[in-house]
């Protein structure tokens, strides 16, 4: 049994999902460890769609399939669409990154991203940013 106080949640932005599909072992370990410790790994729907649009190789698609078998896909509600656009504009980033930031807030979870410096500069640390 773990002596950790509570299971940590982890939200993947598009850069993290892409890294997972490309076999990044660090992302693999973070996802596997959070799940093994009873935490939740969240992939925001917009981040998923954004990443899928960039994949063409069967190996990457198979890894995405594996990931989707283990994580929670967070939907985007219609009521959040305008806010998401505002957040993306503030971040000067993609909608997928903005959705990941919003879900990290909602789940009080760590955000895994290659865009940590930009998020810290514009929004702050939230509940903790894990840099790719």
């Amino acid at each position: 049994m773990s002596d950790r106080p509570a299971a940590t949640g982890l939200v993947l932005d598009p850069s993290a999902v892409l890294a997972y599909t490309q076999g990044n072992s660090g992302v693999d370990d973070l996802v596997g460890t959070v799940l093994a410790d009873g935490g939740t790994v969240v992939v925001p729907a917009v981040a998923l769609a954004e990443t899928r649009s960039e994949l063409a190789y069967a190996e990457e698609l198979a890894r995405l399939d594996t990931l989707l078998g283990a994580v929670t896909v967070a939907p985007l509600g219609g009521g959040d669409a305008v806010g998401l656009g505002r957040l993306a504009s503030r971040l000067n980033g993609t909608l997928g990154l903005a959705h990941a930031v919003a879900e990290a807030h909602r789940h009080e979870a760590r955000l895994l991203t290659a865009h940590g410096p930009a998020v810290r500069r514009t929004i702050g640390e939230l509940d903790g940013i894990v840099d790719l």
């Binding site: 069967a58 930031v101 894990v130």
Partner: protein, 54 residues
């Protein structure tokens, strides 16, 4: 081309071994430890305002 089929029931990723899991936990813990309560509150308030959740 292979298409994604979440309903296909792909096996979840295996849990990493001890040393790799310990390194992953350290990364998660360090990320949380860097955040002060005040910084966390300010950051979360910004997201709430931008998303219209205030």
């Amino acid at each position: 081309m292979t298409e994604i089929d979440p309903a296909a029931g792909a096996a979840p990723p295996p849990a990493p071994d001890g040393e790799r899991a310990a390194r992953a936990r350290r990364r998660l813990d360090d990320a949380g430890a860097r955040v002060t309560a005040e910084a966390r509150a300010e950051s979360r308030e910004q997201v709430r305002e931008l998303m219209g959740w205030s």
